[in-house]
């Protein structure tokens, strides 16, 4: 039993937990961080893209020694049908800058480094320790945690729940609901290893330049989902994710979907001859703004994926995690320095600070997007990609058909598939959810 009392206990050593623990430790608070993996990062899964701006706010000089893969100079969006893709690519020399904006990373390595910074800042980090329950007093206030290592409870003024998308503690203590199948996606991913030169040649890269591809369309078989291909230094992260409710409804298997994506004629040449060294799976919060649970209470706050903070439209999650962890820590420190109790009333400051940040502003902006995408998945992920592909092929194939006839036939194919009302309705709903 740990007799010591801590200012704060942080559960989890992912992006949110590390940001929170680092911020509080740097301010001189007595912090205990608990992680169930053998080291920080060994249970964490992400694509993964690192957003430099949010990390700079925590570790300004991170580029000196963080294990970064490639800085991104190019982004590709692909709309796919079974045999084609229509792409929107953006590549700019401006992204070849000294302080690059986005990097690919490998989470197990990055998080281990991040955790070393947390230790250096003075936090006590205990790995291989699963927190089994929150300790609550007779009034339901959170006063600490129980783990599978020490008998009894470890006490702290406040507990930061950074336990990830599938966090059990908050649900067990009835602080928030378990994620519903239509609010989380299951993503599966493989790490494909290839020689560095091969990756650079196939993706048109030199040096540490990087590219990411985000893909949607018939690859998800009519389910709400996305595929991704991220170039690292010596490997390619390749994966696909769809709503759990869609997997449940369709009976499609995640690994079959992944293998279909890998066999796609636009994808197969990129990974040909690679050696797969890991297969992973993870949930992604997809419920958006409306799925965000209560973020604070007496003696606790929740941050990152555990709080469902993920911007599904922009594929941003780790930066929201890092920022919410940091802001939670700053709010806690304010209470601490003003000698105020960690009550729900006082910790409401965390929510107010988060409301003013990009985290909740962005999530609020897209509050209607999840419902639109989730209830119209056949149209957005099957019908439109097929129509767009056909339109492009009609446009490009030179066969003596007059152009006016081609345009008419393309328009007709859209109207036949969705009707005028359907087309305008989709456009209107999409625009309204986007604005």
């Amino acid at each position: 039993m740990i007799e010591e009392r801590f200012d704060a206990i942080v559960v989890g050593a992912g992006m949110a937990g590390n940001a929170a623990a680092l911020t509080m430790a740097k301010k001189g608070m007595k912090v205990l961080q608990l992680e169930r993996g053998e080291y920080a990062g060994s249970k964490n899964v992400q694509g993964a893209i690192l957003y430099a701006d949010m990390l700079e706010k925590l570790i300004p000089e991170f580029r000196e020694d963080a294990p970064l893969e490639r800085h991104l100079v190019e982004q590709r969006f692909w709309i796919m049908d079974d045999r084609s893709h229509v792409g929107l690519h953006y590549r700019s020399e401006d992204f070849n800058e000294e302080r690059a904006n986005r990097y690919t990373i490998i989470r197990a390595q990055f998080d281990r480094w991040f955790s070393s910074k947390v230790r250096e800042a003075g936090a006590t980090v205990l790995c291989e320790t699963t927190v089994t329950d929150l300790a609550q007093d007779a009034y339901g206030r959170v006063i600490g945690v129980r783990t599978d290592r020490q008998h009894g409870e470890i006490h702290a003024d406040v507990v930061v729940l950074a336990e990830g998308v599938n966090g059990l503690l908050g649900t067990r203590a009835r602080l928030r609901e378990r994620p519903k199948p239509n609010k989380v996606a299951l993503a599966v991913k493989e790490m494909h290893f290839l020689p560095r030169e091969t990756i650079e040649a196939r993706f048109n890269l030199s040096g540490d330049e990087g590219v990411v591809i985000e893909a949607a369309g018939t690859i998800s078989g009519g389910m709400t989902g996305m595929g991704f291909i991220y170039a690292n230094k010596e490997c390619i992260s390749l994966g696909i994710g769809c709503l759990v409710a869609d997997f449940q409804r369709t009976g499609k298997t995640p690994y079959e979907l992944l293998d279909r994506f890998k066999r796609h004629p636009s994808v197969a040449p990129l990974i040909e001859g690679s050696e797969v060294k890991e297969y992973s799976a993870h949930l992604i919060p997809e419920g958006g703004y409306k799925a965000i649970p209560q973020l604070y209470g007496d003696g606790w706050v929740v941050a990152g994926d555990a709080a469902q903070l993920n911007n599904a439209i922009h594929r941003e999650g780790s930066n929201l995690a890092m920022t919410s962890g940091r802001i939670a820590a700053e709010a806690i420190f304010q209470m601490k320095s003003r000698r105020l109790a960690m009550t729900a009333e006082n910790l409401a400051l965390y929510k107010r600070m988060l409301d003013r940040s990009f985290v909740l502003k962005d999530m609020k902006k897209y509050k209607d997007m999840p419902r639109l995408m989730h209830t119209n998945s056949q149209n957005f992920f099957l019908t439109y990609p097929q129509l767009i592909s056909k339109a492009m092929q009609t446009y490009l194939r030179v066969d003596g058909t007059p152009k006016s006839e081609k345009q008419k036939s393309t328009l007709k194919s859209f109207v036949n598939a969705r009707s005028w009302i359907g087309l305008f309705g989709d456009a209107f709903r999409f625009a309204r959810a986007w604005r």
Binding site: G37, S42, K43, R107, D148, N166, L168, L186, S280, A281
Partner: protein, 98 residues
């Protein structure tokens, strides 16, 4: 939809690292005679194919290849079909890359 023979999940899991907590599975299936639709959905939805039917037509779980994603918890815990905990500290899947 039939599971394609070409996809061998065992081969995929083979390249992963695990420290199995023998005799202490972190997921348990509630005893049943006929499986619920939720339990049957896990046969397909689990990315590690941990769920299988035994010869009595009941759903069983073998957690050795589990990647701890939580998909089965999201589907099967609300109905009480399964009990879900994380493995003891240090045990379970050990991602090299994540």
């Amino acid at each position: 939809m039939k599971v394609e023979r070409s996809v061998r999940v065992e081969d995929k899991l083979f390249c992963n690292r695990y420290l199995v907590d023998a005799g202490r599975p972190h997921i348990k299936v509630r005893a049943h005679t006929r499986p619920s639709p939720q339990l049957l959905a896990l046969l397909k939805a689990c990315p590690a194919r941990c769920y299988d039917l035994n010869d009595k037509g009941q759903v069983e779980v073998t957690v050795d290849g589990c990647m701890e994603c939580g998909t089965c918890r999201v589907i099967g815990e609300p109905t009480g079909d399964i009990e879900w905990s994380y493995p003891r500290g240090g045990y379970g899947v050990l991602f090299k890359f994540g």
